[in-house]
C-alpha cells in the first residue's frame, strides 16, 4: 500500500469525522445544559436530510443554500419540542425521559416512512462527483466543503456560548441550576433555547451529510448510536470534545477499515469507546465528577 493511499484515507476519515462531530455537538450541548439524553437525535437529523431532498427536488436548491433555513426549521422544532413535550419530563426519572424520546424517535421514523417511502434518496449537485488532486492524493470535494461548513458552524457556536449574554446565561444554567434560578434567569426558556440550538446543530450536520451520502428513514437510529459513541469518547457535555471525538471516530473507522476489513469498521469505533470507558470514563475532554 502506498503512502498517498493511506494519507488519502486518513484525510477522508478526518473530513467525515468533522461532520459527525457537528452532529454529536448538538447532543453534547443538549445534555450539557438540559441534562436530558436525546434518544431521537439521529432521527431529528433525518428530518433535516429529507428537508434537503424536498428543497432540492422541488426548487433545485443546493444543500449549502439550505444550510441556514434548515437549521432554523430544526431550531424551531427543537424549541417547540422542548417546551411542549420534554419540559414536563425534566424532573421525572431518567427512564421516563428515555421512553419519551425513544417514542419520539419511533414516531419520526414511521412518519418519514409514510411520507417518503423506504427507498434511499439523495441529491446530485454540480460538485457531487468532483474531487481534488493534491499531488496524487485524491480528496472528495463534497467532503471538503461539508467539513469546512461544519467547522464554521462549530466555531460560531463556540463564539455564541462564549461571547453573547444568552450563551453565558445558558452556560450558567449548565454550571449551577439553582444559582441560575436565584439570579432570576428564565431557566425554562433557556432550556428550550438550548434544545433548539442542539437541534439546529443536527439540522446543519444533516444538511452537510446530504452532500456526501443518501438518506433512508431507517438510518436515524444508526446516527443516534454514532452520536453517542462520539460524545462519550469526546466527553459528555464537552463541546470541543464532540468535535475531537468525531474526528477520532472518523479517522479510526477509515484506517481500521483499510488496514483490516472494511465490514468491521464500526467495530473499531466501539473498541475505542470501550477503552475510553475503561481508562477515562469522563471522555477525552470531559470533566471528572466527584
Amino acid at each position: 500500500m502506498t503512502t498517498d493511499v493511506i494519507l488519502k484515507i486518513a484525510i477522508s476519515g478526518v473530513l467525515t469525522g468533522l461532520v459527525y462531530g457537528l452532529m454529536a455537538l448538538g447532543l453534547s450541548v443538549i445534555f450539557g445544559v438540559v441534562r436530558v439524553v436525546n434518544f431521537a437525535h439521529g432521527e431529528m437529523m433525518t428530518i433535516a436530510m429529507y428537508l434537503v431532498i424536498v428543497a432540492f427536488n422541488a426548487l433545485g436548491l443546493d444543500p449549502f443554500v439550505m444550510l441556514v433555513p434548515i437549521s432554523a426549521v430544526l431550531f424551531a422544532l427543537g424549541y417547540l419540542m422542548q417546551r411542549a413535550i420534554i419540559n414536563p419530563f425534566i424532573n421525572r426519572p431518567e427512564h421516563s425521559q428515555f421512553m419519551l424520546l425513544v417514542a419520539v424517535a419511533l414516531v419520526i421514523v414511521n412518519a418519514l416512512l409514510l411520507i417518503f417511502g423506504p427507498d434511499s434518496q439523495g441529491v446530485t449537485t454540480s460538485y457531487s462527483f468532483d474531487s481534488f488532486d493534491l499531488g496524487g492524493i485524491i480528496i472528495d470535494a463534497g467532503k471538503v466543503y461539508a467539513a469546512i461548513a461544519a467547522l464554521i458552524v462549530a466555531v460560531l457556536l463556540f463564539a455564541f456560548f462564549r461571547l453573547t449574554l444568552t450563551g453565558k446565561a445558558i452556560r450558567a444554567c449548565a454550571d449551577n441550576y439553582n444559582g441560575a434560578l436565584v439570579v432570576g434567569l428564565n431557566v425554562k426558556r433557556l432550556y428550550a433555547l438550548t434544545f433548539g440550538i442542539g437541534a439546529a446543530c443536527v439540522g446543519a450536520a444533516g444538511t452537510m451529510l446530504m452532500i456526501v451520502t443518501d438518506v433512508t428513514p431507517a438510518i436515524g437510529p444508526a446516527y443516534t448510536l454514532l452520536a453517542f459513541v462520539i460524545v462519550i469518547t469526546g466527553g459528555l457535555g464537552s463541546m470541543p470534545g464532540a468535535i475531537i471525538g468525531g474526528v477520532l471516530i472518523g479517522l479510526t473507522e477509515a484506517l481500521g477499515g483499510f488496514f483490516f476489513t472494511p465490514s468491521a469498521k464500526s467495530m473499531f469505533s466501539f473498541a475505542i469507546l470501550v477503552l475510553i470507558l475503561l481508562f477515562r470514563p469522563q471522555g477525552i475532554m470531559g470533566r471528572r465528577t466527584a
Binding site: M1, S12, D119, G122, T124, F129, I138, I219, A222, T261
Partner: protein, 410 residues
C-alpha cells in the same frame, strides 16, 4: 300382491329426460368452476426493508389481468398479503390467506419468507408457485404442492460465468484481474462462497480475483472500501450488492477517479431504475448477470407494452417478469385442471408446458421436484438509461460494449 317392476314407455322417457338434464348440466359444473376466478393469495414484502421490491413485484401483478384475458386464460381473483419482510409474518399471512379462501399462493421474493410459506402450503395442501427465491433447499424437500419458476443460486452463477466468457470472446478484450466486493449479509456471503466454488468449474474465465472485500451494506460511506479496491490495481470490479451501496460505490469510483474496464454485477442494484435515474450518464456500462427475460419473445413485448401503459417510465425487470409468470402458471393450470381442487391444480401445475412465455429458455416446465430447471439467465448492460440484453446470444437484443467508457470521458 307382488309388484312387478318394468320399464314403461313413460318411465323410460322420464329417465331419458333426467339423464339428459344430468348430462346437460355436467359440463356446466366444470364451466362454473372455470367461470369463477381462481382465488390467488399473492404474498409480497410490501412493507419493511424489502418494501420497494415488493411494490415493484406488485407492478407485475397489476398488468396480469389484461394479459391473461388476451391469452384466453381464466381470470384470477388476487388476494394481497404483506409479509412485512419478516419470515414469521410471511408464515402467518399465508395461513390467513388460506383460511380466507385462497386456492393457490404466489410469492414471496425472498428465500427465507418463501421457505416459510412453502411449509404452510405443503401442510395445508394448497399449491404454491414461487415467483422469486433462489435458495436451492426450497425445492429439495420433496414437497408436492410447491413449484418454483426461478433459477437456483448455483444456476445463476454458472450461467453468469458462461455469459461472461461469451461476452469477452465476442469483444476480444478481457480483464486479467478483478477485485470482488460483496455485502456482508446472508445473501452477499452466500454469493461470495458460491462464486468462488463455481469459478473453479470455468477455467476459461479470463480474470483472477486478486482481492475480496466484504463491506457493510448499510454503511453510510464506502470510500475506504473503494480506495482499497482501487489500490489493488485490478482491471475489473465484480460486485454483489444492493441498490443503495451500488449507488454509493459508483459515486466513489467517479470521485476517486477509478474507471475499471468492467463492472460485473452478480446481484441487484446496478440495473435498477433508481440506479439509472440517480446516476444518469454515470450509470451506463455495468453488466449484470441476472435472471431476466428474453426480449425477442412475443409475450415479452406484450408484457413490456402493458407495463409501459400501467407504469410509464418503469423498465421491465426480473420482479415484474417472474411475478407475472407465476400468475401465468396459476391461470394456465386452472384452465387445464378444470376446477379449483388443490390436488387437481397441483397435478396440472406439474404438467405445465408453456412455450409462449417471457423468461429465457425453452419455456415453463417443472421437474419432479417442482423446479423449472430449464430456465436460462441473462447478461444485461446499462445503456443510455435503458437496459439491453447482451448474452446469451440466443436471447439478446444488443452487442456488448466492453471495455466500459471511462467515467471522466462521459
Amino acid at each position: 300382491m307382488a309388484s312387478k317392476t318394468r320399464v314403461t314407455r313413460r318411465t323410460f322417457t322420464a329417465g331419458l329426460g333426467a339423464a339428459g338434464i344430468v348430462a346437460g348440466t355436467a359440463p356446466f359444473n366444470i364451466i362454473s368452476a372455470q367461470g369463477a376466478p381462481l382465488k390467488v393469495g399473492v404474498l409480497l414484502p410490501r412493507s419493511g426493508a424489502q418494501a420497494g421490491i415488493g411494490q415493484d413485484c406488485q407492478r407485475g401483478v397489476d398488468v396480469t389481468a389484461g394479459l391473461l384475458k388476451d391469452l384466453k386464460l381464466p381470470a384470477l381473483q388476487i388476494m394481497n398479503g404483506d409479509t412485512e419482510t419478516n419470515v414469521e409474518v410471511a408464515r402467518a399471512r399465508a395461513e390467513r390467506l388460506i383460511n380466507e379462501g385462497a386456492q393457490l399462493l404466489v410469492g414471496a421474493f425472498d428465500s427465507g419468507q418463501s421457505t416459510a410459506i412453502a411449509q404452510v402450503a405443503e401442510q395445508k395442501g394448497i399449491p404454491y408457485v414461487i415467483n422469486i427465491a433462489a435458495a436451492p433447499p426450497i425445492t429439495e424437500q420433496g414437497y408436492k404442492f410447491v413449484f418454483r419458476n426461478f433459477p437456483v443460486a448455483g444456476r445463476i452463477l454458472s450461467d453468469a460465468f458462461e455469459n461472461q466468457i461469451e461476452i469477452f470472446k465476442a469483444t476480444g478484450n478481457a480483464p486479467k484481474t478483478a477485485v470482488f466486493m460483496h455485502v456482508n449479509d446472508t445473501f452477499g456471503t452466500a454469493m461470495q462462497k458460491g462464486f468462488t466454488a463455481v469459478m473453479g468449474k470455468f477455467p476459461e474465465t479470463p480474470y483472477k480475483v486478486v482481492e475480496t472485500i466484504a463491506y457493510d451494506g448499510t454503511a453510510r460511506d464506502l470510500s475506504v472500501e473503494v480506495a482499497k479496491a482501487k489500490a489493488t490495481g485490478a482491471e475489473a470490479l465484480v460486485m454483489v450488492s444492493r441498490l443503495n451501496d451500488a449507488i454509493l460505490i459508483t459515486r466513489e469510483l467517479i470521485k476517486q477517479r477509478w474507471s475499471p474496464k468492467a463492472v460485473l454485477s452478480m446481484g441487484p442494484g446496478w440495473y435498477e431504475d433508481q440506479y439509472l435515474k440517480t446516476l444518469g450518464k454515470f450509470a451506463d456500462g455495468p453488466m449484470s448477470f441476472v435472471p431476466w427475460y428474453d426480449p425477442n419473445k412475443k409475450l415479452t413485448k406484450a408484457l413490456e407494452a402493458a407495463l409501459a401503459k400501467a407504469h410509464p417510465g418503469v423498465n421491465l425487470n426480473t420482479n415484474h417478469v417472474y411475478t407475472f409468470e407465476a400468475l401465468l402458471v396459476a391461470a394456465d393450470a386452472y384452465k387445464r385442471a378444470g376446477s379449483a381442487d388443490p390436488k387437481a391444480l397441483a397435478d396440472a401445475i406439474r404438467a405445465t408446458n408453456i412455450k409462449d412465455n417471457v423468461s429465457p429458455g425453452p419455456g415453463i416446465q417443472f421437474d419432479a421436484k417442482g423446479q423449472n430447471a430449464a430456465l436460462k439467465n441473462s447478461a444485461i448492460q446499462n445503456r443510455g438509461g435503458k437496459l439491453v440484453t447482451i448474452a446469451p446470444a440466443s436471447a439478446s437484443n444488443a452487442k456488448p460494449e466492453h471495455p466500459m467508457k471511462p467515467y471522466d470521458k462521459r
